[in-house]
């Protein structure tokens, strides 16, 4: 139990920033550049760690609560989700709801922290963030419903259990394919990736997530970046397990396969970011609603 917990956390904490590195690298390769080293994210974090803080006089303690919650929540949420074939350290009936709501908590404080600066830009980002997540959250729920329908339990661990392999080959395969797409889109929204958001540009009025953390600095910004990386990995774990439901039975090979899957996901994100442009802002809700309809369709398929 304890060992499993430690392994779980170690995988998460160590590998998470790497995903960003892989994405950047992929994009660089697509652009014909060599790009930053894979470990650039780690360097960035270390640099931020050493820096001092700069606070606006408008801010209060809520400003710092954002990074704190943003870092803590993915950490805790990761305990509920299996990493590939490695089972989740904590698993109980209904933990999928907790999983969703933990991220909601983190969103609450990130947005509050943005509003604390009193900056109109950050307010704008905050408004967009909550709007889009309103549309993404039901989709996530539909996806989980489909998964729950296919399993015989209500915990993430059972939802993402070994039965998925047989499910892919059964009638439910189409549904699984659909929700995989949905989940990928949700992942892109939640982690502020192109085509919904652009993590690379700063000071642009069309941004969502990055604009909310404009005023953060030093270790707090580091926590946010690290938290975002963790979040991406946790959400990615969901996707990876769904896409590659194999298991070998030996923990090391399982872990490696999981990491490989994640890397593949990162490459995929990188490819998407390279070949697509950002959507116009009014288009984003339309895409999200479309995704939701897709997931509803998937649910109907398995309920029928």
């Amino acid at each position: 139990m304890i060992i499993r917990l430690i392994l779980h956390l170690a995988l998460l904490l160590l590998f998470a920033p790497m995903l960003n590195g892989i994405i950047i690298k992929t994009k660089a390769l697509f652009g014909g550049r060599i790009g930053a080293p894979l470990l650039q994210s780690y360097y960035d974090l270390a640099r931020l760690w050493r820096k001092g803080f700069v606070f606006s006089r408008t801010t209060t303690w809520v400003f710092l609560a954002g990074p704190v919650v943003g870092l803590t929540v993915p950490l805790l949420a990761s305990l509920l989700i299996p990493f590939g074939a490695l089972p989740a350290p904590i698993s109980f009936e209904g933990d999928l709801i907790l999983f969703v709501y933990l991220f909601a908590l983190s969103r609450f404080f990130t947005v509050a922290s943005a509003l604390d600066t009193g900056s109109s830009f950050e307010g704008m980002g905050a408004a967009r963030e909550v709007t889009f997540s309103c549309l993404a959250e039901p989709t996530l729920l539909f996806v989980l419903l489909v998964l729950a329908r296919l399993s015989d339990g209500l915990s993430l661990d059972t939802l993402l259990g070994s039965h998925l392999l047989t499910a892919w080959h059964s009638d439910a395969g189409a549904s699984l394919g659909l929700i995989l797409v949905c989940l990928f889109l949700v992942l892109l929204v939640e982690n502020s990736r192109i085509p919904f958001d652009d993590p690379n540009t700063h000071l642009e009025l069309t941004m969502i997530h990055e604009v909310m953390v404009l005023d953060h600095s030093g270790p707090a910004l580091g926590m946010i970046l690290y938290g975002a990386a963790l979040k991406m990995m946790v959400m990615g774990a969901l996707l990876v397990r769904l896409a590659f439901p194999w298991q070998t039975g030996w923990w090391l090979s399982d872990a490696l396969m999981f990491l490989a899957g994640l890397a593949g996901l990162a490459v995929l994100i990188g490819v998407v970011e390279s070949i697509m442009a950002r959507l116009r802002l009014p288009r984003v809700p339309q895409v999200l609603v479309g995704t939701m309809l897709l997931s509803i369709f998937a649910l109907v398929l398995v309920l029928r």
Binding site: T60, L64, I97, V130, E137, A220
Partner: protein, 655 residues
Amino acid sequence: MIWLLSGIVLTSFAGVPGLFCNRESLRGERLACILTLTGAVCGLIAVALVLNSGGETYLDLPWSIPGGTLALRLDPLAAVFMLPLFLVVATGSVYGLRYWPQRENPGNGRKLRLFYGLISGAIMLVLTARNGMLFLMAWEVMALSGFFLITTEENKEEARRAGYIYLIATHTGTLALFALFAMLDHTSGSLIFPGAGTLPAAGSGLMFLLGLFGFGMKAGLMPLHIWLPGAHAAAPSHASALLSGVMIKTGIYGLVRFTSFFAEIPAWWGWTLLLLGAISGILGVALAIAQHDIKRLLAYHSVENIGIIALGFGLALLGRSYEQPALMILGLSGCLLHVVNHGLFKSLLFLSAGSVIHAVGTREIDQLGGVLKRQPWTGALFLGAAVAISGLPPFNGFISEWLIYLGALQPLKHPTSALGLAVLTAPALALIGALALACFVKVFGIVFLGEARSKAAVQAHEAPLSMLVPMALLLVACAWIGLLPTTLVPLLRGAVENWAGIDGGTMLGGSFAPLGWVSLIGWLLLALLAAVGLWLSRISRKVPRAIGTWGCGFQFSAPRMQYTASSFADFLVRLFHFGLWSERHGGKVTGLLPGVTRFSSHTPDTVLDRVLFPIFLGAAWLCRLLRACIHNGVIAFYLLYIALTVIVLLALFIL
């Protein structure tokens, strides 16, 4: 029983001694507060005794009115509704000492206290009455006291209008209940409430519709919520807390109690409630997002939360109809727990909002800002309540929503063709949750964070201790339920057994609803947050907050340039345009060098202002037209009516 009775009497008449005191003396209000507190403690003892013994306490006395007996019964189902009542009433009465002091309100302070006590006592009576007559009486005393609470400031047009709408809504509901109880009397043969599961379901459809109308009106289930926003906005904050936190729940109680009478439940009852619950939840919160009056906003959240409660209850009914005990237990437990939870965090929200309003003097969110710096404690308490009402861990809102979610997921395990649709509750709940989060982060962010948007907001001051301590108590209760939900399991189990008339609540808290795990995660989350937070605050303590917010290069940012509540919500409001029909005035920018322009948006109530109001205006016009024709002042016509009556009656009788 004696404890309960003394509790009812003490709280009911808490405001009476004040009537005999001087208009500006402190004695009356203090006495009222002490009496209310004593009454609440007495009631609490009664509830504790009942829960301890595991049974129920009752009183049955003859009463010299037709069909009436003084039948009181306190069982766990009633106790669930009682507990938040005591806490809210007690905290509200202490809070009221400084929020609405007699000295500053010589005109209406005594009235407020009188009806505040009366409504509390009446609610207790409503919850314990087991005779239709007694129930209706207590019900109406409660409703009328509510009216007087809403019109505390009757000199204001807004309060009068809200009061009138409330009064007609509640009375119409009560009339439906008259019919309901008359029919119950017809079915069961007496006005005494029948035991759980004793009535046949045959012919109960009309009764259910009547109950749904009457109780739903009180509960504020959309589209019967018309009275709610105005009423909660107009009443003093601690009265709003009581109305919104406790009184509207009596509607839920009525529905729960009423449905318990029937042996089997037709499936359409549950579906109706699910549908209404989803509509209330989604449209309620969408309307809330569009508001910029903080109390109206909170009132719409009551609609939303009633929607969530109705979702849970609908699931429970479906569980009964389809004979799925797990669904029933989870649905009902979630519904009942959410009743308690909403009572706690909504009261806290109203009280803390009241504290801000008291300090700043406006309810307009767009006039506030940066209040957290002036009222750190109020702000922190509000934040806690906001997190709780958004259904986020580790507070109580999450626990009840989680139970309802679990209930909604049950049909997946036992796929029967029709019941499968009930899983749609879960995404509906998710949407509601996400929107609620958006709304509360907006309120908290715009009111408490950023820079002050008006002079009054700059001069705000922290509330006195006698207002903060009651609020803190409510937050502690919220956290208690969130972190130690297992302590409430016996109560919920008892209530479920009461309702279903079976011994089936044993599964709650076990493996299929592992509250223990949730609580563990809650503690873990809290510990981690505390650790990281403490560490971060330690390393950042010495950093001066000397510079302004980065304005993306713009040097002259002013507080007025901040995002406002309206602009924050604009995106979502436009998404929900199909249900809100917001009005937008101005804002068009024309020309190369646009001049000064104004923009305002306003979201009237969809049902009241868009549908009912025009209908009523039309009906009133028609009535006036009709009566101008009928009663036209010419006596010949009146004689003609008499002649016609004679002719018609003769024709009917003789031919």
